[in-house]
């Protein structure tokens, strides 16, 4: 992604330099060529020229449209993560970054990623708006409390890169920095092995799922009081009142925090709101657990 951004950047640098030199050159030339020689000289009476006006409206318009399309295509690619990605969760908190890998490994202000893999980071904040910015990968996105935002990138060169918080968030905004460490896939595997057990995050989610007694309503068989969560993420859910939506991590989080917002068709709004009762890390663990319930059981009620 970075090379595409750089290409547009240097194209624009060229456009800016060209027009700046053109205008500056013309002004200085006219100022010298037509400088006032006698104190009461007067300039030529030129009212205007329609042809000139049209040319310097159309040409900038065309150039800007080219830049618009180019910029939009890059943005489209940026906002659409590939289907198969290595998912990492990030929680921004006043003045530190907490990263959570699927194997339960937790990192503060450090992020280890494998070379060449598509990495998607799903982010949320516990307090104010932060912004995960890795200049080397040309990616940046605000981390907004109360919802999920995401960035994705594919590291191409091993090494250590800066990670900044780019949205002002208080006293130590400028200390809320970190390092992204891109490792060879083999080194990454060894690092992963030493730092956690596979599937640990989903397991943590399951224990939380049971502790909060979610399983009393949400069970595999269909006639339970809550909709079955098996194979939920990615499936189209029919809501009360006729709307439908494709379930994603944000929908799962929203349903835990504020269930009465969107009620699955055929169910009563009886689920209590867990707003403030579950930490953001807990919510991420629950979301991971729900995603790990991959196989939609045939008897599941809600299509």
């Amino acid at each position: 992604m970075a090379p595409r951004v750089d290409a547009l950047y240097f194209f624009l640098v060229a456009v800016t330099t060209f027009f700046s030199l053109l205008i500056a050159g013309l002004i200085v030339f006219y100022a010298i060529r037509y400088r006032r020689r006698e104190p009461d000289a007067v300039g030529a009476r030129i009212e205007g020229g329609l042809l000139l006006e049209i040319t310097w409206t159309i040409i900038p318009f065309l150039i800007t449209m080219v830049i618009f399309v180019w910029g939009a295509s890059i943005f489209f690619a940026m906002s659409r993560p590939p289907d198969e990605t290595l998912n990492i969760y990030a929680v921004g908190k006043q003045w530190m970054w907490k990263f959570q890998h699927l194997n339960g490994a937790r990192e503060i202000n450090e992020l280890h990623v494998p070379l060449g893999r598509n990495v998607k980071i799903l982010m949320t904040s516990e307090d104010v708006i932060h912004d995960l910015f890795v200049p080397a990968f040309r990616v940046k996105a605000d981390v907004v409390p109360g919802r999920y935002t995401q960035i994705w990138f594919q590291p191409t060169k091993p090494g250590t890169y800066h990670l900044f918080c780019a949205e002002y968030c208080g006293t130590q905004h400028s200390r809320m920095t970190g390092r992204v460490v891109v490792m060879e896939p083999s080194d990454y595997q060894t690092w992963l092995a030493t730092s956690g057990t596979p599937g640990a995050l989903a397991a943590a989610g399951e224990t939380l799922f049971n502790d909060l007694s979610c399983n009393t309503c949400h069970r595999r068989e269909s006639q339970s009081r809550g909709p079955s969560l098996h194979g939920l993420v990615g499936r189209t859910v029919n809501l009360e009142g006729g709307d439908t939506l494709v379930a994603d991590e944000a929908y799962v989080r929203e349903s835990i925090v504020n269930p009465s917002g969107r009620i699955t068709a055929g169910f009563q709004p009886v689920m209590p709101a867990y707003q403030g009762l579950v930490s953001e890390e807990g919510l991420l663990a629950l979301v991971e657990y729900v995603k790990s319930l991959g196989d939609a059981s045939p008897t599941s009620h809600a299509q």
């Binding site: 205007g48 020229g49 006006e53 943005f75 996105a141 006293t171 400028s174």
Partner: protein, 539 residues
């Protein structure tokens, strides 16, 4: 050359003496000078904060002031400069003084309202400055929630209410200008004979009137949410922080056009006067002011490309942001075309105008980097943005303001300033400015985030360059204040038209009488109608 001219026996400056003749005046010219004093005062406070920021950033480690103090510094610099200097400066100083004279009226439509605007501005500005100096404000001039509503512990409510009050001064000035331009033009002064200065202030007033109320309600909601724990912008209580950004930028982007459009109006006057020929494509330049004012309201989303806005909304805002760049480009081309075959003089105001055109071009084109969404993701919230808007604000508005101030100084005071000193200070300002802000483009591309108290060591060289430039710029701004004040007492006397320019303001005496004209002028000539030879011009 000893000037054998004398000041006119009766003019607005000697039409009453004493403090009350100034504090209770209803003469738009005196109110303009009241604004001049107030605005200059707040400019130097904001400037002091800027110097402290640059001193801090000379070293990578944040070692001059504490984190909190630095956060207050950049917030105070932003608030002072945006709300108390850039927005009011050209409209309330030059606009107030000149619009009635340029359209041949005795005064603005509502003189008492005009004085009330000054008092509202002073109350709001001093109250906010008191709140900032005693407790400080650390939310940035943007007041982003939920930091400003839930997390900040500084004087957010006093500052928000102070800016809320100052906003009304802007609304009432805009209202005054619109009614004056519509209803009080002299006989024969049709819309297309108006000077472009008046056109650009008309467009600016539209923005002031249509945009400022939305900022007012947004700041009121922030204050209400802090006081009563409402749930409007705080996600904890069910609100949405991005809605705050929508409402805030709905005003704050048009606000940047409030800051630049008057500057464009001044430059159109300067280029016409110092080339002594009509502005190339008068009606196109006039309508592009209106185009900027209207399109300016449709583009605010480009401040929020990374804020979590929907992809499609981002694309629409990006497309419209490119469209709003076109009228500005047209203006630059028209100014350049005006200089073709003109009698181009190199007096100080023209140097400022040339500086404006060059720097504004760079500022405008770097805006295209930010309108392109894919690129915005990388450069937003970095020093690239800081450089972009300082090229427009400092390279544009302040250059135009200084140019305008020097151009109309003889009309305001009846005396002229020292030409050599003025040219030297213009050169210092131009050079100091570029040294301060051009390195920041590179810093931004390299990824140095804005509002950072400490930064990685590899950015130090560019930051030191920028800090050096800032000290030069600071000195550069002190010079005009010195020699202009000095010229009030010792400046050479000038006649009613020292530049040999065309315009109603040059037909009345310098300084003009309180009712501007002996009797209401009747306009029969087109705008910028230069005769073949300019008589009565004193070199």
């Amino acid at each position: 050359m000893p000037s054998n001219l004398l000041l006119p026996p009766r003019h607005y400056l000697n039409d009453g003496y004493g403090v009350w003749s100034w504090l209770l005046t209803r003469d738009h010219k005196r109110i303009a000078l009241l604004y001049l004093a107030a605005v200059t005062f707040f400019f130097f406070i904001g400037g002091a904060f800027a110097v402290m920021i640059r001193l801090e950033l000379a070293t990578p480690a944040g070692d001059m002031v504490s984190d909190d103090t630095y956060n207050k510094l950049f917030t105070m610099h932003g608030v002072m400069m945006v709300f108390f200097f850039l927005i009011p400066v050209i409209p309330s100083v030059l606009g107030n003084f000149l619009i009635p004279i340029m359209i041949g009226a005795k005064d603005l439509a509502f003189p008492k309202l005009n004085l009330a605007s000054w008092y509202i501005y002073m109350i709001g500005a001093t109250f906010t400055t008191y709140a900032i100096v005693t407790g400080g404000l650390d939310t940035g001039w943007t007041f982003y929630t939920p930091f400003s509503t839930a997390s900040s512990t500084t004087n957010v409510i006093p500052a928000a209410l102070g800016i809320f009050v100052t906003g009304f001064s802007s609304i009432l000035t805009g209202l005054n200008f619109i009614v004056t331009i519509h209803k009080m033009r002299a006989p024969g002064m049709t819309w297309f004979r108006l000077p472009l200065f008046v056109w650009s202030h008309y467009a600016t007033s539209l923005i002031m009137v249509l945009g400022t109320p939305v900022l007012a309600i947004t700041l009121l909601l922030v204050a209400a949410e802090r006081l009563f724990k409402f749930g409007i912008f705080d996600p904890e209580l069910g609100g949405d922080p991005i809605l705050f950004q929508h409402l805030f930028w709905f005003y704050s982007h048009p606000a940047v056009y409030i800051m630049i459009l008057p500057g464009m109006g001044v430059v159109s006057e300067l280029v016409a006067a110092f080339c002594r020929k009509p502005v190339f494509g008068y009606s196109v330049v006039a309508f592009s002011s209106l185009g900027i004012a209207i399109l300016g309201f449709l583009v605010w989303g480009h401040h929020m490309f990374v804020a979590g806005q929907s992809v499609y909304a981002a694309l629409i805002f990006s497309l419209l942001s490119f469209l709003v760049a076109i009228p500005s480009a047209i203006k630059v081309f028209n100014w350049t075309a005006t200089m073709y075959k003109g009698a181009v003089s190199w007096e100080t105001p023209m140097l400022y105008a040339i500086g404006f055109i060059g720097l504004f071009t760079i500022g405008g084109l770097t805006g295209l980097f930010l309108a392109a969404v894919g690129l915005n993701v990388h450069v937003t919230d970095t020093y690239f943005i800081i450089a972009h808007f300082h090229y427009i604000m400092v390279g544009g508005t302040i250059m135009a303001y200084l140019g305008g101030l020097h151009y109309w100084w003889p009309k305001i005071s009846g005396r002229t300033y020292n030409e050599l000193l003025a040219k030297v200070s213009a050169a210092i300002i131009f050079f100091g400015f570029n040294l301060t802000f051009f390195p920041q483009f590179i810093l931004g591309y390299l990824g140095m985030p804005r509002r950072y108290h400490a930064y990685p060591p590899e950015f130090q060289v560019l930051n030191v360059l920028s800090s050096a430039g800032a000290s030069l710029l600071g000195v550069g701004y002190l010079l005009p204040m010195a020699y202009l004040a000095w010229s009030l007492r010792y400046g050479k006397l000038v006649g009613s038209n020292p530049w040999g320019a065309v315009g109603l303001e040059w037909t009345t005496t310098s300084p003009p009488p309180t009712e501007n004209f002996a009797e209401t002028p009747v306009v029969t000539w087109e705008a910028y109608d230069y005769p073949t030879r300019v008589e009565g011009h004193v070199a």
